[in-house]
Subunit: 213 residues, 2 copies
DNA sequence: CTCAATTTAGACCGATCGTCTATTTAATTA
DNA sequence: TAATTAAATAGACGATCGGTCTAAATTGAG
């Protein structure tokens, strides 16, 4: 059922020369945490489930993280970084026009959601939705991630202006903001419908808006 | 702290002529349930919290509802109906042009979110987001609500076409679908930012798209 | 060979969910 | 009007789970 699991762990301080067989326990917890939280969010996910899937005993968790909240903060940061890398990959591909890069990102997202049968969404969107049930300090972290993503998106839109793909009259910051507002809705809906169609529908509408037609 | 609460409930079968002081217990539970679930969603809300806020003892809950899942189904239906009424109110107001009716709906939503300090979002969006943590049967209920809302929205767009406000070339069903995909994202973001700005930004973008400019 | 550092083991408490029985009050029936 | 039935509340209970915390095990350092 689960690929990460059940390697016999030795108790006590590990030998210095080790780290052979299995990835660092901490990294494993983060990876598994991301996969579970992108699926079910923060509140309805229990530590136990993450530990079970990671094949890590409970005691270890509280060795590596102060508590669930601290773990959550680290997941938000890790997820933000993961996407920043994705953007660098797509948004700076000179083989494509700026608008094609945006389309490539959309295709990549579709592929990603399909791979997990539309069960996993966006961690930031998930957590934003449950904001009122979350530690208040999460709010600014989530907002910062959106700010970062919107900046990067605005950048590619400006390049599209310079390349003459879209009108110079468009306010790129506002358009990037619009994109991320709606895109999170599209991810949500794709999860509900278990289909890529909402992602396509929103992306297509957004591009029409850019092209002013 | 809480307006609904703490009216001394009489034990036992109620007199036939009654229903004077407080609303029916069942109705109270539904009302309170809606307010809590629009805020925190399904998974992270416990029955006890609803009972406490409603001032209703636990024994009553299981008298009126089979279990939490059955209660959730009833809340989805009640919320769907509540919004259907809202649409009837705004979308059939002949004093406004069709597009103005859409704008009136947006204003109403802004007012509604502001009233609760942007803590409450859309029940259907909330539950859609946590779909993977929900009883599988909820999926079709949520989809049906969106289908209904999109139909009503498509209707007002067709009226806008007939009134010459927007191009006859627009596919109203698709545009209504686009609206609801993005609008749920806007509600999510308004909750995160505790601001009406995402609602305005999305609505304004959507209207530009309709007007083709 | 101690002692500190690092990690695992799992006990523990409180909260949540759903059930169940007892109790209270009103309506119905005879 | 007494007995019975219907309708609702009271709240104890067990099972389970989530989060925390302490004890134990293992290794490295002096």
């Amino acid at each position: 059922m689960n690929q990460t699991a059940d390697i016999k762990r030795k108790r006590g301080r590990p030998p210095k020369t080790e780290n052979a067989d299995f990835r660092d326990t901490r990294e494993t917890l983060i990876t598994v945490g991301l996969s579970v939280l992108t699926e079910k969010g923060y509140s309805s996910t229990g530590i136990d489930e993450i530990l079970r899937k990671a094949g890590v005993p409970k005691g270890s968790f509280y060795h590596y993280f102060d508590n669930k909240e601290a773990f959550g903060r680290i997941l938000i940061e890790a997820y933000g970084r993961y996407f920043a890398r994705k953007f660098d990959r797509w948004f700076e591909d000179r083989a494509l026009t700026p608008l094609q890069r945006l389309e490539a990102f959309v295709e990549d997202a579709k592929t990603g959601m399909a791979r997990f049968e539309y069960r996993r969404g966006c961690l930031i969107g998930n957590l934003g939705q449950e904001m009122t049930a979350l530690p208040e300090g999460f709010r600014v972290l989530l907002q910062d991630v959106f700010t970062d993503w919107e900046c990067r998106t605005a950048g590619v839109l400006r390049e599209a202006q310079q390349a003459g793909e879209i009108s110079k009259d468009l306010k790129c910051d506002q358009m990037a903001h619009f994109f991320w507002i709606g895109w999170e809705g599209a991810v949500l809906r794709a999860k509900l419908d278990q289909s890529p169609e909402p992602l396509d529908r929103f992306a297509q509408g957004f591009l029409s808006l850019l092209r002013g037609s």
